[in-house]
């Protein structure tokens, strides 16, 4: 049976068909759907782990216990998990262990553009790089065979374009793998990585890599497609598709296994063509490998190193370099378009973070941010976030800046899921080393950015069961935070009172701003759109400055100031009342006032 599957769905399908028993991940674009999809299959345990390192440990534990296991994450998640991946390289396992690294060229939803094929060489691990959904499935299955044949974890490296493209995939049934062990292995030389044992393992993994390189010479994962021999292109991943599209007559060496490289196969290909070119996205990983063989090769001298490739770019630079393109590049049509307004992502109407950023902006504090929807607080008109680096960095950076001696207070801001991901050790550090950092936990009861996954705060597991619910207040107190307040994130006054009280302490402090994400289904059912009383609004514009997409500028002008009045789009407004509270003229009624008006009849005017 053939079905259109996204790369992520195909990886999940491959894992299921390969008999995977345990899978763990932390959500992150573009990898999130892998575990969401896999969790729908029977006979496989799937979980959202608290972070990527934990996910790799969980998968490693399952593989030590003799069951095929998967860990999936976005590229920067591998940074978090790197420590664990390095030990798994040394230990190997008792059953197949595959780690998916979903890279994000063009940074569609990421803070950097790192090329995780580099990790494969660093960790001495084989790395597969599929070029469509069928390969996503096939390579996942092949990765388990490879992992078990050579006693090595395998990196399955994808890119956003592969994860989020759909192509036809041939489906098959699951093959159950017999469990060889029912006890945890007792093999200290292999699994206890103290220096004496690790020294014994290092030669083993170097030898393993040599044996895999030999295997790479003949595996069908790598193949030569002989066509015209004037130009030969070595390529992998989605770049293979662009090579076939734009240079249809060129010979191609398609690498499915991008580490280790097949030396003899590359030499054979190079000898068979007049001009050797590497077409790869991001870093010159293959190109450098080919260069080390002493072969003359072009790559990044032609194709961009930065950003995502596409057929337009490949054709343009390929033609300029004299490569045999399918047709001349399309001349860019001069359309004389007016400058188009950007359509940036924004904090949604009813977002529980809006009131917090409104307050922090008003208080003129330095704001050390983190990764999540709330990162959008940096955008105008709020412009209330001054740093964002990576998951969990907000608290440590605030702490360090405070210790450096600033003329202002530094506030760390992070979400509930990020707090459990890597915020915990940083908060313990603040409590231990005593900085007067105020940490604001934006607890919207879900992992919102990636599409509402559960986390220890919500206690909802990936497989839809009731898990443990961790108590934020108890966790913070347990970490040594004595000054703690919890408030409703929609209550501007309560937020300000709590903020003022905590800032007065000059001690480590935590403010938990709690309110469920406005996009959660149970919240959606309770929307009550607000409206603006035109006779009270004088166009002062304060409500425009909270950056709510539901608040528009009316075509009506105030007769005195000639400024546009506010207008609320009833299709977008959720009735969070943050604007009602900031309006200095009581021109935006609360939900209760709206209900009273509705009860009084559709034509009623506000009582004066």
């Amino acid at each position: 049976m053939r079905r259109m599957l996204s790369g992520n769905e195909a990886i999940a399908r491959g894992a299921w068909e390969a008999g995977v028993v345990v899978a763990a991940a932390y959500p992150g674009t573009p990898s999130t759907e892998i575990l969401e999809e896999l969790s729908r299959f029977p006979r496989v345990y799937c979980e959202w782990s608290t972070n990527e390192k934990v996910a790799v440990d969980v998968a490693a534990g399952a593989a030590f216990a003799g069951r095929r296991a998967l860990a999936a994450m976005k590229h920067v998640g591998v940074n978090v998990a790197a420590d664990s991946l390095f030990y798994t390289s040394y230990t190997g396992a008792e059953a197949g262990l595959v780690v998916v690294s979903a890279d994000d060229p063009a940074m569609h939803s990421s803070q950097n553009e790192q090329d995780n094929r580099r990790y494969a060489a660093f960790m001495r691990l084989p790395c597969l790089d599929p070029a469509d959904s069928q390969e996503c499935k096939d390579f996942t299955i092949a990765a388990y065979a490879l992992s078990e044949q050579f006693d090595t974890p395998v990196i399955l490296r994808t890119t956003t374009r592969i994860n989020h493209s759909s192509t036809p995939v041939e489906l098959a049934e699951r093959v159950e793998i017999e469990q060889k062990h029912t006890r945890f292995p007792r093999d200290a030389a292999k699994y206890v990585m103290v220096p004496a044992n690790a020294r014994g393992r290092h030669p083993v993994i170097e030898d393993r890599l040599r044996r895999i390189a030999e295997w790479a010479e003949t595996t069908p994962l790598n193949r030569i497609e002989w066509r015209d021999r004037a130009v030969g292109i070595i390529t992998a991943g989605v770049a293979y598709q662009y090579a076939r599209e734009v240079f249809p007559n060129a010979s191609v060496l398609k690498l499915g296994l991008v580490h280790p490289l097949p030396e003899r196969l590359i030499r054979e290909f190079a000898a068979g063509v007049s001009r050797l070119v590497v077409l790869e996205e991001l870093d010159p990983v293959i190109e450098e490998g080919v260069r080390l063989l002493g072969l003359a090769v072009e790559g990044k001298s032609i194709f961009p190193l930065i950003g995502e490739l596409d057929p337009t770019v490949v054709r343009r630079v390929g033609a300029a370099a004299g490569l045999p393109v399918d047709r001349a590049p399309t001349a860019m049509v001069e359309m004389a378009r007016p400058p188009l307004p950007a359509r940036p992502p924004v904090l949604c109407p009813g977002c529980a973070h809006r009131g917090v950023f409104w307050l922090l902006k008003k208080k003129h504090v330095a704001i050390s941010g983190d990764i999540g929807c709330y990162t959008l607080g940096f955008l105008p008109p709020l412009s209330a976030l001054h740093f964002c680096g990576c998951m969990g960095a907000s608290i440590g950076v605030a702490h360090g800046a405070t210790k450096a001696g600033l003329s202002e207070r530094v506030v760390a801001v992070l979400g509930d899921s990020t707090f459990f991901h890597t915020g915990l050790p940083a908060l313990a550090n603040v409590a231990y080393n005593r900085a007067n950092v105020l940490t604001v936990i934006l607890d919207n009861r879900t992992t919102a950015m990636t599409g509402h996954q559960g986390n220890p705060g919500s206690g909802r597991t990936l497989q839809g069961q009731a898990g443990g619910v961790l108590d934020f207040e108890a966790v913070c107190r347990g970490l040594g935070i004595e000054h703690l307040e919890t408030v409703d994130a929609y209550d501007n006054d309560a937020l300000e009172r709590a903020f003022t009280a905590l800032m007065a302490t000059d001690q480590p402090a935590v403010l938990i701003a709690r309110r469920p994400c406005a996009l959660l289904p149970e919240v959606r059912r309770q929307y009550v759109p607000l409206e603006v009383f035109e006779d009270k609004c004088n166009g002062c514009g304060v409500c425009f400055r909270i950056g709510c997409p539901a608040i528009l500028k009316s075509e009506e002008l105030d007769p005195t100031s000639h400024k546009p009045l506010a207008l609320i789009d009833p299709a977008l407004c959720t009735g969070c009342e943050v604007c009602s509270q900031v309006c200095p003229h009581d021109a935006i009624p609360t939900r209760d006032q709206i209900r009273l008006l509705e009860d009084a009849g559709p034509t009623s005017c506000p009582a004066e």
């Binding site: 259109m4 674009t29 573009p30 569609h108 939803s109 469509d132 956003t160 374009r161 989020h164 493209s165 759909s166 192509t167 036809p168 989605v238 598709q241 662009y242 076939r244 599209e245 734009v246 596409d310 057929p311 337009t312 054709r315 399309t330 001349a331 860019m332 049509v333 001069e334 359309m335 004389a336 378009r337 007016p338 400058p339 188009l340 307004p341 950007a342 359509r343 940036p344 992502p345 924004v346 904090l347 949604c348 929807c373 959008l376 105008p380 008109p381 950015m449 599409g451 425009f544 950056g547 997409p549 608040i551 528009l552 500028k553 546009p564």
Partner: protein, 199 residues
Amino acid sequence: MEQDGRCSFVLVGVGGQGTLLASNVVAEVGLAAGYDVKKSEVHGMSQRGGSVVSHVRWDRRQVFSPLVGHGEADVLLAFERMEALRFADFVRPGGTAVVNDMEIVPITVSAGNAVYPPAAEVERAFAAVGARLVVVPGERLATEAGTVKAANVVLLGAISTLLEIDEQVWWNCLAERVPKKFLELNHAAFAAGRAAVAG
């Protein structure tokens, strides 16, 4: 619209408008009609009110790139007027742009920092490309059919007229993706979209 056994679509809109459902249907129609098919879209931050774009390619032989190149789209389906303008240079000369008569004002405009382009700019842009422009009042036709939410189905009806594939193939792929109790309503919306172009 098909040229040399292949057809490329670019679907653009704003998060929440139903572009992803539409691109799934276009992909499945291609598969049902015997083409090799690839579909590509970018999720992530776009669901927070940003631009959304999907590419779908059909080819009688084999599709390689999942992405459509600039000036290569046979059909641009725009759910929103400014997004039509933003992606106008994807359409090939002789291609067709089906543009929903709908404005969604971005925060940059509502905050007063930018101006929404006038409707005449859309006509100018596609005239410059050399593409046929079809404007469809998606929301109005959908409301007449029973619900404004079926605007994406109206638009699918509109582009279904551009290809020589039986109407029934489109409807079968669409019917699988809409709730059973709204079949009739969606069929009316689909028919209204077809009539909007044919008429």
